[in-house]
């Protein structure tokens, strides 16, 4: 059957289509959130580990905001890219910003896109999700939630203020200095601006 000329020609036509797909995306979802990890060259086993860490990071946000009865009104999507080229292609098409930033929110489609920081495969296996990427997942999930409310719907700056507040409370609620370079970093920016005016 396969040796029939028609079958061979059909298979030949399909080959470039199959080759261009790349590694399959990994995903996880529930009624409120959908998370997609585009793993690029990362192995499936490490990809599954990273997906689980991303999921925990994203799910920490609605759980945290439930206490104040702030809810996810419509389902949100978070897409994370292990390969920078794949992220840049999406950013070029959909980012509302004029600059390339490594992450952005597409409010129209209620989706955040995040470029994961590059690491050796064994480093991913040892540490899981890079802390900066974890922070991005938490912060942009919070930002997307904020953008569903009247207070921030038409002002992404306020949505950013909201999202950084959530991030700081989730990552360092007691505001302890010197234990997390990324937390200190945010204050360093304010210090520098205060000094320069």
């Amino acid at each position: 059957m396969v040796s029939h000329p028609f079958c061979i020609a059909s298979l030949a036509l399909l080959a470039p289509f199959v080759a261009s797909q790349g590694p399959a995306a990994l995903s996880r979802s529930d009624k409120q959130l959908k998370l997609v990890l585009h793993p690029g060259p990362i192995s499936k086993a490490v990809g599954e580990q990273l997906l689980e860490h991303c999921w925990q990071a994203a799910r920490s946000v609605p759980g945290f905001m439930k206490k104040e009865r702030v809810h996810i009104k419509k389902p949100l999507s978070i897409e994370i890219y292990a390969e920078k080229a794949a992220y840049l292609a999406v950013e070029k098409e959909r980012s509302p910003h004029a600059f390339s930033g490594g992450e952005f929110c597409d409010a129209t489609n209620r989706t955040a896109h995040i470029s994961m920081l590059p690491l050796l495969e064994k480093s991913y296996a040892a540490i899981g999700l890079p802390p900066q990427t974890r922070n991005s997942v938490v912060r942009l999930t919070a930002k997307l939630v904020a953008m569903q409310y009247d207070g921030c719907k038409h002002d992404t700056w306020l949505a950013d203020v909201f999202s950084y507040g959530v991030l700081d409370e989730l990552t360092n609620a007691t505001r302890e200095w010197g234990i997390d370079p990324l937390f200190d970093q945010r204050a360093n920016i304010f210090k520098a601006r205060t000094e320069t005016g």
């Binding site: 064994k122 700056w157 507040g165």
Partner: protein, 219 residues
């Protein structure tokens, strides 16, 4: 940051419908009204409180290059060959002799397995104390490469935590797990402008980082 200082409920207040924009009101005006719900209406008081908070913040680290951050109770540094990971100490280095100490674990993620402690000087000089699996190097960074000035063997293994201390005094004295590993004569006063931890193509965990002045010896 300031929102966390105030009473709970800031999230709900920030998300409420903003007031209708008045004629001649810009984005900044509307934002002030929204933020006033959480921070209060006295903006002079808010700005003063913010300035005090920023001044009082005792930040210690600048994340210069990723990947770094906190995982559990440890700071991680993870770099590739192309992308280093680096943090800079932003506190004040002691005026006289001092010691830098920490507990480090190097992971086996590539053939490199090393972490650098860097001291910089005012004339762009950089001296590195580089802890490798099995050895320690004292090196200078010049013309885009490391030039070794001293080295020794050391009981450092991947996956096994070790305590190091580097005393910057009349010489550079390096200890591993309490035992002296190497001493190198140097004018350490030339390396007092900056302190960094850096990694390339490796992964390291840092705990209990201490920078302590060394009490002068009694005459």
């Amino acid at each position: 940051m300031l929102a966390e200082q105030k009473k709970r409920g800031w999230r709900k207040k920030l998300l409420k419908r903003p007031p209708k924009r008045k004629k001649n009101q810009g984005n900044g005006d509307v934002r002030k009204v929204v933020l006033s719900r959480v921070l209060g209406k006295d903006w002079a008081k808010t700005e003063a409180a913010f300035a005090r908070m920023v001044k009082a913040s005792e930040t210690k680290w600048l994340a210069r290059f990723q990947v770094t951050g906190r995982i559990g109770d440890r700071i991680v540094l993870a770099g590739t060959n192309k992308d280093p990971a680096e943090i800079k100490f932003t506190g004040e280095l002691p005026a006289g002799d001092f010691t830098v100490s920490a507990r480090v674990t190097l992971e086996e993620v590539s053939s490199r397995k090393a972490i650098r402690v860097l001291f910089t000087g005012s004339d762009s000089r950089i001296r590195g104390i580089i802890f490798h699996a099995g050895s320690i190097y004292i090196s200078d960074w010049r013309n885009d490469k490391w030039h070794d000035v001293a080295k020794c063997k050391a009981a450092i293994e991947t996956g096994k935590p070790f305590e190091f201390s580097i005393e910057m005094g009349s010489s550079i004295r390096v200890k591993v797990d309490g035992k002296q590993a190497i001493e190198h004569q140097a004018d350490t006063t030339k390396y007092r402008t900056g302190l960094y931890f850096a990694i390339n193509d490796s992964l390291g965990w840092l705990e209990n980082i201490r920078i302590e002045a060394v009490a002068p010896a009694n005459k």
